[in-house]
């Protein structure tokens, strides 16, 4: 349990930063793939989806970590899911109230935040074992990491797929849209591309380090 003790010793800012990069939920942990691929055909949708997920993540982390000594171990997963489902219902109605167009574009995927493994995963692995303050930081960090990843995908797919970013035209009107990028297949390819980039960077770093060690 050495790893767990380590996490509890860390300060709040560390909990925040680890979600951003080192343990990024999408690129490193490959969690919550369904919304990542389904709603990232424009940067705007990606941003909205990311923020909605972040809200649910932070709120459910708060509730679960403050109730962590009351929840019986046997029914914990069911309890987590009920808590998450409540916040998702709230989010669903709030988005419908703010912008009906956005609600239509995201469709059933707002409701599907309930089954996002990222949220349940953080509840089980972090919020059920740590204080409320740390859980908030963890939720925020993971949430921002998730938004960042969604934006990476959404931006690439929108730039190539419709030649714009956040609805602003980027190219000359003779630019041929890569229709493939907006279609489902484009989602798979873009995510694969980002993962390749990160793998390549990791490998290059590891190689540089081993070279340094050899030199020393």
């Amino acid at each position: 349990m050495a790893g767990l003790d380590q996490t509890t010793d860390k300060r709040g800012t560390d909990e925040f930063i680890k979600g951003l990069w080192r343990e990024n939920p999408v690129f490193v942990q490959v969690l919550g793939m369904c919304p990542v691929l389904a709603v990232t055909n424009t940067a705007m949708n990606a941003l909205a989806m990311g923020l909605a997920t972040m809200f649910v993540l932070v709120m459910s982390n708060i509730v679960i970590s403050s109730l962590r000594s009351f929840i019986p171990k046997q029914v914990r997963i069911a309890t987590y899911i009920l808590v998450i489902a409540t916040f998702v219902t709230v989010t669903d109605y709030v988005i419908a109230a703010i912008s009906l167009d956005l609600h239509k574009a995201l469709g059933a995927f707002i409701s599907l935040i309930v089954v996002n493994c990222l949220i349940l995963g953080r509840a089980e692995a972090f919020a059920s074992k740590n204080t409320v303050g740390k859980s908030i930081m963890d939720g925020l960090g993971m949430g921002v990491g998730f938004v960042f990843a969604l934006l990476c995908l959404g931006a690439v797919r929108e730039i190539f797929g419709s030649g714009s970013l956040f609805g602003v035209e980027l190219f000359h009107e003779r630019f041929q849209d890569w229709v493939m990028m907006v279609l489902p297949a484009g989602g798979f390819f873009t995510l694969a591309g980002w993962l390749l980039l990160f793998n390549w960077m990791k490998e290059r770093k590891a190689r540089a380090r081993s070279l340094e060690e050899e030199a020393a």
Partner: protein, 193 residues
């Protein structure tokens, strides 16, 4: 939408709008269990069964919720039904075939968080399908999910022997394969219209 013939609903859920490759539902088990043909087939079977049961339940729950005028409870009651169905299936498989139970391992309880199942329940209510239509929709989605899983497992078993650069190995390769499969499935778009 309500007047769709049954065969068109089935084909639509199974091929044209395949749950995995067009709607991106159930990607986690799709990436996780598609390593071996045998587990893929069994996982497909389990998911298909849970889909049928939960779609039936979801239909009646929706009728009930509309009757008492409480649609905001939809999500919570759907997920509760799915969780208990999965629990039931788990107990059943454990009793009937302990070997299969061990092979499926962690992925059996994870069906609860499989978006394909909740997605199915939500889509059928959004589309306003009747009871029989819902069942055909669930069947089509189940067959489509199993088909995608089996195709993927076949490809990945072949790729075990191929020489692939280290950087590409793992999730990135699987995602690229899924993208190619997704393009292939787009060819079905002309089928039912």
């Amino acid at each position: 939408m309500t007047g769709d013939p049954l065969w068109s609903i089935f084909l639509n859920a199974c091929l044209i709008n395949n749950f995995v490759l067009a709607y991106f539902l159930g990607i986690c088990p799709f990436l996780g269990v598609s390593g071996k043909m045998e587990t893929a087939t069994r996982m497909g079977g389990a998911v298909m069964f849970v889909m049928l049961v939960s779609s039936t339940c979801a239909y009646w729950i929706n009728v009930l919720l509309l009757a008492i005028d409480a649609p905001y409870l939809k999500l919570i009651s759907f997920i509760a039904v799915i969780a208990s169905t999965v629990q039931l299936v788990e107990m059943f498989i454990k009793k009937v075939s302990p070997t299969l139970f061990r092979q499926l391992g962690i992925f059996l309880p994870l069906i609860t968080t499989n978006c394909a199942i909740l997605g199915l329940a939500l889509f059928q209510t959004n589309k306003g399908y009747s009871f029989v239509q819902s069942i055909f929709y669930a069947l089509g989605a189940g067959v489509g999910f199993t088909l995608a899983l089996i195709l993927m497992a076949g490809l990945r078993e072949k790729l075990e022997l191929a020489a692939v650069p280290d950087v590409v190995k793992g999730t990135a390769l699987t995602l690229m394969l899924a993208g190619l499969l997704s393009i292939a499935f787009m060819g079905f778009a002309g089928l039912g219209g």
